[in-house]
Amino acid sequence: MSFTSRQYPQLSSAFHAAAYTALGRLPPQLTALRCTLEALEKLERTAEGQESERATLIARMSETLETIEATLAPAFSAQRPTLVLDPAQIAILREEGLLESLAALFEEMASRTFAEMRAAARAGNSKALADAAHLLKGSAVNFGAAAFAATCQCIEQQVATASPATLEALLCELEVNQGQLIEALHRETGEG
């Protein structure tokens, strides 16, 4: 994986979301990559005319990403939960006759709570953000939504120390996870 400086503008917020989330789960010695990303973002906000510095940062970032891909990615992907829904949990809820009602309850609660998280992030209210992430995590585990719960956990743990850009990226990822989860719930309940 490599980038050129011309490609930089195409590095969308989705890429940042994925990169920051990955970094949050990698060993501490790889925080160098986070620093490079942050430097790059900072540079992006400053005046133009620093193309060479930008190119250097992008090159450094590409190099580190390649290292991660080559050496740590297998272990990383093994650790990272990707499960949108756990069929076993869904079967239990279905058997208990609770699947439809709890799915509807979750959908309503999750979208409201996510809006509150966005507001808390804008206001810099770390505690409210962590509490909301904790609430969503506890709710999502009822469906065995491991990927969604892991992102919530990540927000809950990093909210006090993460930069606004990192939080924004994590919220983006959570929004994606939430969309996937709700879509999967719709499929299970026959609403999709």
């Binding site: 609770l98 609430l135 585990v141 009822n142 956990q153």
Partner: protein, 181 residues
């Protein structure tokens, strides 16, 4: 059993409430510790199942408050925790008075087992209280057997257990009986 649930997550609360009702329990659900405490004061439930992190009053604060106001009736307190709760957190919880734990996602079998134990413990606490309330007294000399298996005078026993003291006098019946002898 009468059970109070304190859980701010509506999904977990409905799921837990449903499971408990199916197991034949009478359930009252609240979204924070403060509401649950007020309900407890009014209903005197014997089992509380509470989430840890909640607005207003969290699970540990609720547990401490219940221990303070429950009096002689023991209340069995089960704390619901997240998967990654660490040993130090569990230590804090038991120090606050928590009896047992349930981990999310809640499992009906695990809930049944916890409540089975809860019922047994609550039964023992009632038995112990009843035994404590029974005072063994000698039917002849009226001495009382204390906790160290020692027979002591009723005056000493009451003094030790109530911190009351006695002023000695003579009742009219004894006065008539003993003064005439």
């Amino acid at each position: 059993m009468k059970i109070i649930i304190a859980e701010d997550d509506p999904v977990s609360s409905v799921r837990l409430g449903n499971t408990l009702t199916r197991l034949g329990h009478e359930v009252q659900s609240f979204t924070n510790g403060m509401q649950a405490l007020e309900a407890f004061r009014a209903s005197k439930a014997r089992v509380i199942i509470s989430d840890w992190m909640m607005p207003e009053m969290d699970g540990l604060e609720l547990c401490r408050a219940i221990r303070e106001c429950s009096g002689n009736d023991y209340v069995y307190f089960i704390l619901v925790t997240a998967l990654r709760t660490g040993p130090a957190d569990y230590d804090r919880a038991v120090e606050a008075g928590v009896d047992d734990f349930l981990v999310k996602p809640l499992d009906a079998d695990a809930i049944w087992r916890r409540l089975f134990v809860a019922q047994r413990i609550l039964h023992y606490t009632v038995t112990i209280r009843q035994l404590k309330d029974l005072i063994p007294i000698c039917m002849y000399c009226k001495k009382i057997r204390n906790d160290s298996d020692y027979w002591q005078s009723i005056e000493n026993y009451i003094r030790e257990h109530t911190r009351s003291d006695f002023s000695h006098g003579i009742c009219p019946e004894c006065s008539e009986r003993f003064m005439n002898e």
